[in-house]
C-alpha cells in the first residue's frame, strides 16, 4: 500500500482529510516529504567534524571567553583603582609638602622684611623677667638694710630695752 493510499484510507472524516479531495495538497505534501528526506539525507551523510561543535562547543567557548574577559576587566579595574589611589596620595603629599615649604618661605620673607618688631617683641617679652629680677634685688637690699638697722639700736633707748628685758624675766 502506497503512502497516499494509506492516507486516503485512514481518514474517514472528509474535513479531517482534505488530501482525499484535493490532489494539489496531496502533491504538495508529497514534494514536501521528498524535499525533507533529501535534505535530511544530505545533511546526515555529510562528513561532520562534530555536531556539537558549532552550538554546544561554541557556547562553551563563548562562556570561557566571557569569563576570561570579565576576570581580566576586574583585575585591570582593581589595578587601575590601586594606581589611582596611590597617585592621589602622592599628589596630596606633594601638595602638603609644597604648602609647608611655601609657608616656611613666607615666614622667612616676613622675618627678613621686619626684623625690629620681632626683636622688640622679644625684648618686651623679656622685660617682665628683668623687672622681676630688679624687684628681687631691691627686696634683698631692703632686707639687708633692715637687718643692719635693727642691730644698731640707739644708745638713748638702751635703758628702756633693759627694762623690757627685766620685765620679761620677772
Amino acid at each position: 500500500m502506497s503512502r497516499s493510499e494509506k492516507l486516503s484510507g485512514e481518514f474517514q472524516d472528509p474535513l479531517a482529510d482534505p488530501i482525499v479531495a484535493d490532489p494539489v495538497i496531496a502533491g504538495a505534501l508529497k514534494h514536501f516529504k521528498a524535499s525533507v528526506d533529501a535534505w535530511g539525507e544530505a545533511e546526515f551523510s555529510r562528513p561532520r567534524s562534530g555536531g556539537m561543535r558549532s552550538t554546544a562547543v561554541a557556547q562553551h567557548n563563548w562562556r570561557i571567553a566571557a569569563s576570561w574577559a570579565v576576570g581580566c576587566l576586574l583585575i585591570a579595574g582593581s589595578l587601575a583603582g590601586g594606581l589611582y589611589e596611590h597617585r592621589q596620595r602622592q599628589e596630596a603629599a606633594r601638595a602638603a609638602e609644597m604648602k609647608a615649604a611655601e609657608q616656611k618661605m613666607r615666614l622667612a620673607a616676613e622675618q627678613r622684611v621686619a626684623p625690629m618688631p620681632v626683636a622688640a617683641n622679644i625684648a618686651t617679652k623679656r622685660q617682665p623677667t628683668g623687672l622681676k629680677r630688679a624687684a628681687n634685688t631691691d627686696e634683698d637690699l631692703l632686707a639687708t638694710v633692715d637687718n643692719d638697722v635693727s642691730r644698731q639700736v640707739p644708745a638713748a633707748m638702751e635703758p628702756l630695752a633693759q627694762m623690757m628685758d627685766g620685765d620679761g624675766s620677772n
Binding site: V24, I25, L29, A34, W39, R53
Partner: protein, 208 residues
C-alpha cells in the same frame, strides 16, 4: 525491526528464573550487557536518520538537530534498561526527541537574549532541497514553489501542530504512534492535524 524489539534485560531475567531442569542455560550478566549493547547499537543505526530528519524539519537548524539527536540517543542509552517495550523503540525515541525539543524551546524562551535562531536555515533555502528525479524543469519549479509554500505554512503552525504535522506527513507515523510519541489522545492529534492541514491548504490556495 523496532516492532520486534524486546528488552533483552527482561528476557535474561526471565531466563534466569526459569525452573531448573530446562535445557536453557542462564545467561551471565556480562553476556546480557553485551547483548543489550549490541541491540542498542542496532537501534541507533536504524533510527538515527529518522530522528535527525524529524528534528531537522522541526528546527531547520542542522547543528542543533545533530546536537539534539546525540542527546536523544544518550538519554535513550541511559534509560535503555527502563524501556519496557510497551511501545515501539521508534515511538519511544521520538518521544525523547520531542521532549528534548520542548526543553530547547523552553530554554530559548527563558534565555531570550540568545540568538539561537541564528543558525536556522531560511524557508527559501530549505525548499531548495528536492530529489533529482526525472522531471522537467517546469515541474521542478512548480514542486519547489509548493515545497516553499508548505514550509511557510509549517513555520506559522504552533509547536504542537508542527510536531503532529511532521510526524504524520514526513515521518509517516500512524495516528496511534503520534499519540504515543506526543502523549496526546488520538482525538487531539486528529484535531491538531486537521488545523495544520487547513493552514497548509490556505497557504497553497492563497498563492495559487
Amino acid at each position: 525491526m523496532d516492532a520486534g524489539v524486546v528488552n533483552l534485560r527482561r528476557m535474561v531475567t526471565s531466563t534466569k528464573s526459569m525452573a531448573a531442569g530446562t535445557a536453557v542455560k542462564p545467561m551471565t550478566a556480562d553476556a546480557a550487557e553485551e547483548l543489550a549493547a549490541r541491540e542498542f547499537a542496532g537501534i541507533v543505526e536504524s533510527h538515527r536518520p529518522q530522528i535527525f530528519r524529524f528534528l531537522l524539519a522541526s528546527l531547520r537548524d542542522v547543528d542543533l538537530a545533530e546536537t539534539l539527536t546525540q542527546e536523544c540517543f544518550l538519554k535513550a542509552h541511559r534509560n535503555w534498561r527502563h524501556f519496557r517495550g510497551d511501545s515501539s523503540a521508534m515511538t519511544w525515541l521520538m518521544r525523547i526527541a520531542i521532549n528534548l525539543q520542548k526543553d530547547h524551546w523552553r530554554n530559548r524562551r527563558l534565555q531570550f537574549w540568545r540568538h539561537t535562531q541564528a543558525n536556522a536555515v531560511g524557508v527559501d533555502e530549505a525548499s531548495e532541497w528536492l530529489p533529482s528525479g526525472e522531471r522537467s524543469a517546469e515541474q521542478q519549479i512548480l514542486a519547489r514553489e509548493q515545497v516553499g509554500q508548505v514550509w511557510k505554512a509549517v513555520e506559522n503552525l504552533s509547536q504542537r501542530q508542527r510536531t503532529v504535522f511532521l510526524l504524520r506527513y514526513v515521518e509517516e507515523l500512524e495516528l496511534s504512534e503520534i499519540a504515543q510519541s506526543t502523549g496526546l489522545s488520538e482525538g487531539t492529534v486528529k484535531a491538531h492535524l486537521s488545523r495544520a492541514l487547513g493552514k497548509v491548504r490556505a497557504e497553497l490556495r492563497g498563492t495559487q
